[in-house]
């Protein structure tokens, strides 16, 4: 029973953060039809910025949080303007954008290595205190992380459902021509999506690295897991992505608790392969039209 409770607790924690990461990936896929392999580096930007501001500059927590997320959004903006925009509308978009984002991720990770070195960084505990339910140790910091992530998932969902720009972002992902005929300026929408997506990755970086450690390679595994989530949820589907994030988070936590930590990643990939065979369009994928 305690094992199950432990798995649910960890699963909700992972799921909330994966949800933020995966939502960013899926929004980019929806609008640009691009797999952004620099997404993990944007996670890194958020994490390192937060660490620098809290640990080195000793500035207040809220400021660190805001600056780190804004910093990731800014890096996303630069990526879009300098790297992605010049490729838009050119032949070979699929492979060119993929290679460009891999390149960007190498630059950003190497930059982190140069600036911060290979040593692992640990964020100071910003929210003190922990308590036990039976044998399961729950830290207040993790609860704050979960609450923040869930708050932003809800905010994103409301934004995408009710606001003018949110509707436009969904419209672009469902039918580009129709969205343009409604007057949505495609390039500006891409820029907005990239900034939001980068901010979400940065936010995930701030949140998760406040619990785990931070190293120049830390962005990779969360990105891969977010990728599993988006494939499971049906690429481009917002609702599917959020459901999938919690499913994958719980699955990972179950694997860790019942089979051991070493099983988490191979288990997830096995799950993804099975998914791709039995439901290639994902949990909420509704066929070709929906996916693309």
């Amino acid at each position: 029973m305690d094992a199950l409770f432990q798995a649910i607790y960890s699963g909700i924690l992972y799921g909330s953060v994966y949800g933020l990461m995966a939502l960013g990936l899926t929004l980019i896929w929806g609008s640009l039809r691009m797999l952004n392999l620099a997404h993990g580096s944007l996670y890194l930007v958020g994490g390192y910025l937060a660490w620098t501001i809290i640990d080195r500059l000793q500035l207040p927590l809220v400021l660190a949080f805001l600056l780190a997320v804004a910093g990731a959004a800014l890096v996303g903006l630069i990526l879009q303007v300098a790297l992605i925009n010049p490729l838009l509308g050119k032949a070979g978009w699929d492979s060119a954008s993929l290679i460009a984002t891999v390149g960007a991720s190498i630059v950003l990770e190497s930059g982190a290595l140069l600036i911060y070195g290979p040593q692992v960084k640990q964020m100071p505990t910003v929210v003190e205190g922990q308590f036990k339910i039976s044998t399961v140790l729950i830290s207040n910091q993790a609860l704050v992380v979960i609450a923040t992530a869930v708050l932003f998932l809800i905010l994103m969902s409301v934004f995408l459902r009710t606001s003018r720009h949110g509707l436009a972002i969904r419209a672009i992902s469902q039918n580009m021509d129709a969205a343009r005929l409604a007057g949505v300026p495609a390039r500006r929408a891409f820029l907005i999506v990239m900034c939001i997506s980068a901010a979400l990755a940065g936010l995930a970086g701030v949140l998760l690295s406040s619990i785990f450690y931070l190293a120049p390679t830390s962005g990779f595994v969360p990105m891969v897991k977010a990728l599993v989530v988006t494939i499971f949820g049906g690429l481009g589907s917002v609702k599917g992505t959020i459901w999938a994030a919690y499913t994958i988070g719980l699955l990972e936590a179950m694997l860790q608790v019942y089979l051991g930590a070493g099983w988490a990643l191979p288990g997830l990939f096995l799950f993804m392969i099975v998914m791709l065979v039995v439901r290639p369009n994902g949990l909420f994928g509704l066929g070709e039209v929906r996916r693309l």
Binding site: L167, R170, N175, L181, A182, G183, V184, P185, V289, R290
Partner: protein, 233 residues
Amino acid sequence: MLQVSDLQAGYGGSQVLHSISLHVQTGEAVVILGPNGHGKTTLLRAISGLIQPTGGHIELDGRAITRLEPEAIVAAGVVHIPQGDLLFPEMTVLENLLMGAYRSDAWGARNKKLEQVFDLFPPLAGRKRQLARSLSGGERRMLALGRGLMGKARIFMIDEPSLGLAPLVIEQVYETIREIRRTGLSILLVEENANHIAGLADRVYLLEAGTLVREGTADELLQDEALLAAYLG
């Protein structure tokens, strides 16, 4: 108000439109009749900017709109209801309609416009919360037209509204288009079947192989059955 001169366009090297010149006056309903595959859809797509014309000139009220981005052409007041409706399938009917009022100059009036659209298309009002992909063919066509009416259209370009619909539904759709026309909106419509456009068109062009071969008032051209049979089969 809309003036197209010597327009040429095509897809990747193969030319579809050869020197198209036409005009639509304010408040006028102009229909382009032509068989399938002769460039009707290409013509509307070139005007609305979805494809780049390779030559020629398009003006709206004397202002050049040739080769602008589609969003800038919409901003000028050219609203294109494309073939196949092009809805947002995973958005509700209401969300689809709201997207029609996306532009900031239309967003403020969205609730008033919604009422007008629901008055014009009562079936949509009952399906507000339903996903667009769950609608019937006729309802989709209504939604596409309704979405176009949510913005600030000055000229309404409609691509073959009869396509794929049952005869009775076609009659309903054309009745609404005639109603839209009575509000004074300028209309440029392309159609394959001459029977549908009686009572709607002021002027008619015949399009064949990417060229406008005849022009005349609806009264003249639609009476000439031999001519129509020769071109439309």
